[in-house]
């Protein structure tokens, strides 16, 4: 029991002496060190006490820089807020929440550790006890699930000579949707059936918004007459309404595509699905791994994108994702 207590104490001392930090000298820091070295040489060479004084100041600034940056990285906690949607090769907004429990911190930059995501977020001043949300525009290189292992917090405070980094282990998976590139291929013929309306898009006899009024022609449906306007005009006027065209499409990703073709097809399907759903159509998806029934709306687009993102990747049981 005693030995264990001693080990714990020693481990605590060791962890305090060697905290998990990485230190990188910045560009201006390198030049600063070179100048410091030169001043040191000059002081040793000449014995000029003013150069010794200057050397002491330069070295002290290095030490103070290390201490202050260490203080900035202590007592921090970080969590991911995540992103609305992350598309490959397109900047997407990503958020972290960072809190400092004691004291304040300066000049913190946040980024995902050991991941292909590029981009950083920054916070200039972090007071104690405030849950500060840091926003960054990140870019992912490719589609699919992306394992995030941790968040890297870096500070160059106070003088920008050294960049000290602390990594907070936070494991999760971010699902990157395929890029919605331009679709060269036509979505194909819409599905025929009881669902959807395949009327003439040029006819203004739909059930949508009012387009205008015109005189009722011979043989037209009397239910379209706008009676109040007709009474004021002294002739029968009919309402023309926009024809709402809603078709049903099922987009397919063929089996047996090589990796490059599969990526290309996923991007096309994502773009087509986006366009069709924006136009109000119902869109379904047929892939070798799953089939999604046609439906409309943003939730359906999200389902399609998620299916496309997982295509070709092994899906975990819990379907975890950060986005």
């Amino acid at each position: 029991m005693k030995a264990r207590r001693r080990t714990t104490w020693w481990a605590r001392v060791r962890s305090r002496l060697r905290p998990p930090r990485t230190l990188k000298v910045t560009r201006i820091g390198r030049t600063y060190l070179v100048v410091t070295f030169g001043v040191g040489l000059g002081a040793l060479n000449t014995g000029n006490n003013l150069l010794y004084l200057l050397l002491g100041l330069l070295l002290s600034m290095v030490v103070v820089s290390g201490v202050l940056s260490e203080r900035c990285l202590r007592d921090l906690s970080v969590r991911r807020v995540g992103a609305e949607a992350a598309f490959a090769q397109e900047p997407f907004a990503f958020r972290w929440a960072i809190t400092r429990h004691h004291g304040h911190a300066f000049a913190l930059t946040l980024e995902e550790a050991d991941s292909p995501l590029t981009g950083v977020g920054g916070v200039g001043y972090l007071p104690a006890g405030v849950d500060h949300v840091v926003r960054a525009n990140l870019t992912a290189p490719r589609r699919g699930p992306l394992d995030l292992t941790g968040v890297r917090v870096t500070t160059t405070w106070p003088l920008g000579l050294f960049a000290k980094t602390r990594t907070f282990p936070l494991e999760t998976t971010l699902l990157i949707y395929p890029r919605r590139t331009y679709a060269c291929q036509d979505p194909g013929a819409p599905e025929q059936g009881p669902v959807g309306d395949a009327g003439n898009p040029r006819r203004n006899d739909g059930n949508g918004d009012v387009v205008g009024l015109r005189e009722l022609a011979q043989g037209e449906d009397a239910r379209r007459i706008h009676w109040r306007k007709s009474a004021s005009a002294g002739k029968l006027l009919r309402v023309e309404r926009e024809h709402e065209e809603r078709r049903t499409f099922v987009l397919t990703v063929a089996a047996g595509l090589d990796a490059q073709a599969l990526e290309r097809r996923c991007e096309e399907v994502a773009a087509l699905a986006h366009r069709l759903i924006e136009e109000g159509h119902e869109v379904g998806l047929d892939t070798p791994e799953e089939r999604i029934r046609p439906s409309a709306g943003a939730a359906q687009e999200r389902r399609l994108l998620r299916a496309l993102a997982w295509l070709g990747h092994e899906r975990p049981h819990g379907d975890e994702e950060a986005a």
Partner: protein, 685 residues
């Protein structure tokens, strides 16, 4: 430009300016480089950056300047270190006038570092230390603001005020660390290439030369700079010494200027004896300051022996030779920034000199009068003396007459053909050289031997010694009295013998000189021996009684290093503890804050129902439109956040909120007083 960026750039430019000033105080930089840099700094501080779109052109100009400086160095007209410093200043000037971006900022700061390093090599002035600290502070703040600004998202303001506190503490610790490093880092001097010697701001003021020409102006009497420090033994312990400190004497006057009949110099030696000593000699430990600016040794009248001289240069101190010149002058062989030596002088009174001991040419010169001297000089002397033939009595009689009949002035009309006649019969006013010359010549016209002496008059007590200022420069007369030797007689009115500068200015200069003395002793001349003394003071050495102990090591003992390490660790632990203590969460702080708010509301006569909480009171006052409702709302909200929302009050925030509420209460009370109504009472609900 974002809020805070302008401040950062101003601090950056000011830092560069202070770095340049640290070189400029050496007085060695070319004037054109001072002018160019000053212009660039003014433009930069005004926000004008004309080089922003002319990078290549200005780089070419810099190249041309570099070639010019290099040529001057090769030609031997410019020192290499000075040229390098000037070029660093011009690089900095070019950078501060360029587009301010991250790279430019870094280059400005680094050129500033080079400049302060150059300043350290060029100057040893006290003001250099001031500029070094100012540069460090300005550059540190500018760098920190730049670091924070880079992390702040676009469009958001830079939190300038929040940066200042932690940064100020950091800079303070850096300065303390620099001092600790300076004290404890062992002085290991390879001494391969020495720096250039510089007298710094010390302007040569004494100006002893081989002749003294009458005329010109006497502005030196206004100069309060200290040129000499002396420690006397036995110590007279008087606040004002009022003694004559002689540098040299003159015996030949040609009508315009004084010189010496004997110009030959004696051999160089470590100790020179001018006249035999006695038992009761006055010992003086002398220090000639950089402002002295001459190589002539000065001693209390009348000097007997001088020697044991050391010369101080930027290469260090070393022993030097001295030699006797004409006119009893003793001169250092080498030129340095300052000097120390010892002197022994006869006590005030007679010198014991005999005429026969002097060389024949000097004996004749003591009675010589210049050709064409106005005959009225002799007639006037005879009339004043009225038959007095005893030399000392005659000199004192003439001296009293001169002091009574003539006025002292530093305003002179310039060179005239016969300055003595001009002084005695035309202007009837002059400075010490006129009075001394007139007395000397009048004595000679009456067949009495006399000569002119120059040096200083005075002695102001400072920290156990005496200081002499440049304004104490003086001239007087030595009259030869048979059996006594040369006796000092001063014809200048007593009130005008010492420095004529203002008292306040003298005190200021004394303060500056005292600080500069500390700076020189504690910083510039700090060496390995001082380090050992400091360590021994902290850790007294315990003597081992056992015989056969080894010779004491000249390196610091391991315990000194261990103690230094422990001190550093203790300082760090103390800092951490203090930081945590100051940043600790104070229990019940929110409750105390609420109590203070309620007390303030009670003083404003805001009525409350029994058990009515602050939150309920705030809501009620808001509904009733009470004048204090707007001030109370943020206070209440912040209290609730601190008490229940997990957002404790920051340091000083409670005082700030209470101050706002207090102001609102005071304004409301004033408004009510103006209206002459009773304060409204909130209705208890």
């Amino acid at each position: 430009m974002r809020k805070g960026t302008r401040l950062r750039l101003v601090l950056r430019d000011l830092g560069s300016g202070f770095a340049f000033a640290s070189m400029a105080v050496s007085g060695q930089l070319p004037v054109w480089s001072l002018a160019l840099y000053g212009l660039a700094l003014v433009l930069a501080l005004m926000g004008k950056r004309p080089f922003a779109h002319r990078v290549k052109l200005t780089a070419l100009l810099l190249l041309a300047v570099a070639v010019t400086l290099g040529t001057n160095v090769l030609a031997g007209s410019l020192n290499l270190v000075v040229a390098a410093c000037a070029f660093a200043g011009l690089i900095s000037a070019q950078r501060v006038l360029s587009t301010p971006d991250a790279a430019t900022d870094g280059q400005v700061h680094l050129s500033g570092l080079l400049m302060v390093a150059g300043g350290a090599a060029l100057s040893g002035e006290l003001i250099y230390g001031l500029f070094l600290i100012l540069f460090g502070v300005m550059a540190s703040i500018a760098l920190a603001l730049g670091v924070v600004e880079a992390a702040v998202p676009e469009g958001e303001p830079v939190p300038v005020r929040s940066v200042m506190g932690p940064l100020a503490r950091g800079v303070t610790f850096a300065v303390l660390g620099a001092v600790a490093f300076f004290i404890f880092f062992p002085r290991l001097n390879w001494n391969m290439i020495g720096p250039t010697a510089s007298p710094g701001l010390g302007v040569a003021t004494a100006g002893f030369s081989n002749s003294v020409r009458l005329g010109g102006s006497g502005t030196i009497k206004d100069n309060p700079r200290i040129v000499l420090r002396a420690t006397l033994s036995p110590d007279p312990e008087r606040d004002s010494l009022n003694a004559y400190w002689v540098g040299r004497t003159y015996d030949v006057f040609d009508g315009q200027e004084w010189s010496n009949a004997r110009q030959a110099s004696g051999p160089f030696e470590f100790m020179t004896t001018l006249r035999p000593g006695r038992d009761n000699l006055v010992h003086q430990r002398m220090e000639l300051m950089p402002a002295y600016g001459a190589r002539t040794l000065v001693a209390l009248e009348t000097p007997s022996r001088l020697g044991n001289a050391f010369i101080n240069t930027q290469r260090g101190s070393r022993r030097t030779h001295i030699s006797e010149q004409g006119g009893g002058e003793v001169r250092f062989r080498d030129t340095g920034i300052s000097y120390t030596y010892e002197a022994y002088s006869l006590p005030p009174g007679s010198t014991g000199d005999e005429v026969r001991d002097l060389p024949p040419e000097e004996q004749d010169a003591l009675l010589a009068i210049p050709d064409g001297l106005d005959v009225r000089v002799a007639q006037t002397a005879a009339r004043v003396l009225n038959g007095e033939r005893e030399p000392l009595a005659a000199a004192q009689k003439l001296s009293a007459w001169l002091q009574r009949e003539y006025k002292y002035t530093l305003e002179l009309g310039g060179d005239v053909a016969d300055p003595v006649a001009d002084f005695l019969f035309q202007r009837k006013e002059g400075h010490c050289e006129h009075f001394a010359t007139a007395l000397t010549l009048m004595l000679r016209t009456q067949g009495m031997r006399a000569r002119l002496a120059t040096g200083f008059f005075g002695g102001e007590r400072v920290t156990g010694g005496y200081v002499i200022r440049a304004g104490d420069a003086h001239a007087w007369t030595h009259v030869f009295v048979p059996g006594q030797g040369f006796v000092t007689v001063d014809a200048t009115p007593p009130s005008h013998r010492a420095s004529q500068s203002s008292r306040v200015l003298e005190q200021l200069v004394s303060l500056y000189e005292a600080v500069e003395s500390q700076w020189r002793n504690a910083v510039l001349e700090y060496n390995f021996r001082d380090q050992m003394d400091a360590v021994r003071t902290v850790f007294p050495r315990q003597r081992h009684k056992a015989k056969g102990d080894e010779a004491p090591s000249r390196t610091p003992p391991p315990r000194a290093w261990g103690a230094a390490l422990l001190a550093a660790v203790a300082a760090y632990a103390l800092w951490r503890t203090l930081s945590r203590y100051l940043a600790r969460e104070r229990p019940l702080e929110a409750t105390r804050f609420a109590d203070a708010v309620e007390s303030m509301l009670a003083s404003a006569r805001v009525a409350r129902a029994d058990g009515e909480t602050l939150e309920a009171l705030d809501a009620r006052l808001g509904k009733e439109g009470h004048p204090l409702a707007s001030a109370l709302a943020p206070v209440t909200r912040r209290y609730l956040e601190a008490r229940f929302g997990g957002r404790p009050l920051r340091q000083g925030e409670a005082q700030q909120l209470l101050s706002t509420l207090r102001n609102a209460v005071a304004m409301e009370a004033q408004r009510l007083a103006r209206e002459g109504t009773r304060p409204p009472r909130a209705r208890a609900s």
